[in-house]
């Protein structure tokens, strides 16, 4: 049966752990071209160079070829073709569709229109499951476990989809959460209710210093202008947290800083040289995790 990856909730705990295990295999041996002869579509209806390059590199490393576009402005969509018709057309040519689209729910819809597996590479502010899986992989690689960790999420917890998906995924693993955000960007009620329903602890604070020294993972996020409808609200909160090397004097030895990148002012350059910085390696991990996702969905690394 065809399986797609649209939302992190589409994967069970077993499947999540299996993807992470498979990613480890690809990190050790990244040249495995068992998808030779396959063609995979990379449809970026909105540009995202970082995500697109990571996915397309993963496809190439596995030996498959890529067709697609990196921007919808020259496609038939811009001439008014429906999403359904574009997906139906591409579906005839390929073994898998990787897509990014500004409308929320577009990837779920595409997966129901297509006969081949669809991987969601971001649908507006909704889901971006490969990002979540690479975050989990980075946590596992740096801490040796996913169980019983304290994760401090910082910045835009209201609109930041990466924090929402990571929270959903980590709910499998007895995590303690700290939510560090200004009043305007606090974690939405629905996610706190979700944690309550699972009996998971969380603390809320507006101070970055308050729980800095007790966490295992510091998950920093950028305040994204494009998610705001009110420009005044954006101006008020855009530079609310800025981490520098001095602030790290008393953190736990095993503490690692993650960030989905690109960063703006929330992590200063001097943090890069500390042993706590992990965000560049985190981005590299995306390649192995995406190789694992593609292989699994095409039946090459089945769950045993």
């Amino acid at each position: 049966m065809k399986k797609s990856l649209i939302s992190i909730r589409d994967f069970t705990k077993e499947e999540i752990l299996h993807i992470l295990e498979t990613a480890k295999e690809f990190e050790q041996n990244p040249v495995q071209d068992f998808l030779t002869g396959k063609v995979i579509a990379s449809l970026f209806f909105e540009p995202s160079t970082r995500t697109r390059l990571s996915f397309e590199t993963a496809v190439n490393r596995l030996g498959a070829r890529v067709i697609g576009f990196s921007d919808a402005s020259n496609t038939s969509q811009s001439k008014g073709e429906t999403l359904k018709d574009t997906i139906k057309m591409v579906n005839n040519y390929v073994d898998m569709i990787i897509m990014r689209h500004p409308l929320e729910g577009s990837s779920r819809y595409a997966s129901e229109v297509a006969d081949v597996p669809v991987v969601n590479a971001g649908d507006g502010a909704n889901q971006h499951p490969s990002q979540t899986l690479l975050d989990l992989y980075s946590i596992l690689q740096t801490q040796g476990t996913l169980d019983g960790l304290t994760i401090n999420m910082v910045g835009d917890l209201k609109y930041g989809r990466t924090t929402h998906s990571l929270l959903q995924a980590m709910s499998h693993f007895k995590t303690k959460f700290v939510f560090t955000a200004p009043e305007e960007l606090k974690m939405p009620k629905e996610y706190k209710e979700f944690l309550d329903s699972k009996g998971i602890e969380y603390i809320e604070t507006a101070s970055l210093e308050e729980h800095l020294n007790s966490c295992d993972i510091l998950y920093m996020t950028r305040v994204q202008q494009e998610r705001f409808t009110d420009p005044i609200e954006y101006e008020r909160v855009k530079d609310c947290y800025s981490l520098n090397a001095q602030m790290l004097a008393n953190v736990k030895d095993n503490m690692k800083i993650l960030h989905p990148l690109p960063r703006v002012n929330e992590i200063s350059q001097d943090v890069d040289e500390t042993p706590y910085a992990y965000y560049f390696k985190q981005a590299e991990n995306g390649l192995y995790v995406r190789m694992a996702i593609i292989s699994y969905l095409l039946g090459h690394r089945p769950l045993r």
Binding site: E104, G124, N126
Partner: protein, 150 residues
């Protein structure tokens, strides 16, 4: 003829929907897709109800509905009752149930939802929270409350 008789004036065969909030009677007609029906429809609006202030009532002659069709009304008329009439007698009386999933009625409240930009039938799963029914969009995964649906 007493006033009581007038309100439920004789229907030989058909369906009577009672206890619809007065302001939602037209929405109910829309949801049940009764625009092109040939048989007689009698509508009462702003009738006095002991329980709900002003209520509405819809009587449709010679028409019987599947439960699935009627249950769609639970979103706008949670307390409605359905009377099935045969030979001038009420042969069945039922309450509405909230369907697990509803398709093709209402709009997602999320302006960036794909269903608001492409010709796609909406699809929600329902959850009851106190008196409110909340609807989780199958596509964008955002929650719409039943008041925002129309």
């Amino acid at each position: 003829m007493s006033q009581k008789e007038l309100k439920v004036s004789a229907l030989e065969n058909g369906t009577v929907l009672d206890h619809i909030p007065a302001e939602n009677v037209y929405k109910a007609l829309e949801i049940l897709d009764l625009k092109d029906i040939e048989s007689q429809i009698t509508i009462g609006i702003n009738l006095v109800s002991k329980q709900h202030g002003k209520k509405g009532i819809i009587k449709i002659a010679d028409k019987f509905f599947e439960d699935d069709e009627l249950n769609k009304l639970s979103l706008i008329a949670p307390d409605a009752t359905v009377n099935v009439i045969k030979d001038f007698k009420v042969v069945e009386k039922k309450k509405l149930e909230i369907p697990r999933e509803i398709r093709g009625i209402g709009r997602c409240m999320n302006p960036k939802c794909v269903t608001n930009h492409q010709p796609i039938e909406t699809r929600f799963s329902t959850a009851k929270k106190g008196d409110e029914i909340s609807l989780l969009c199958h596509f964008c995964e955002k929650t719409t409350d039943s008041k925002g649906l129309f």
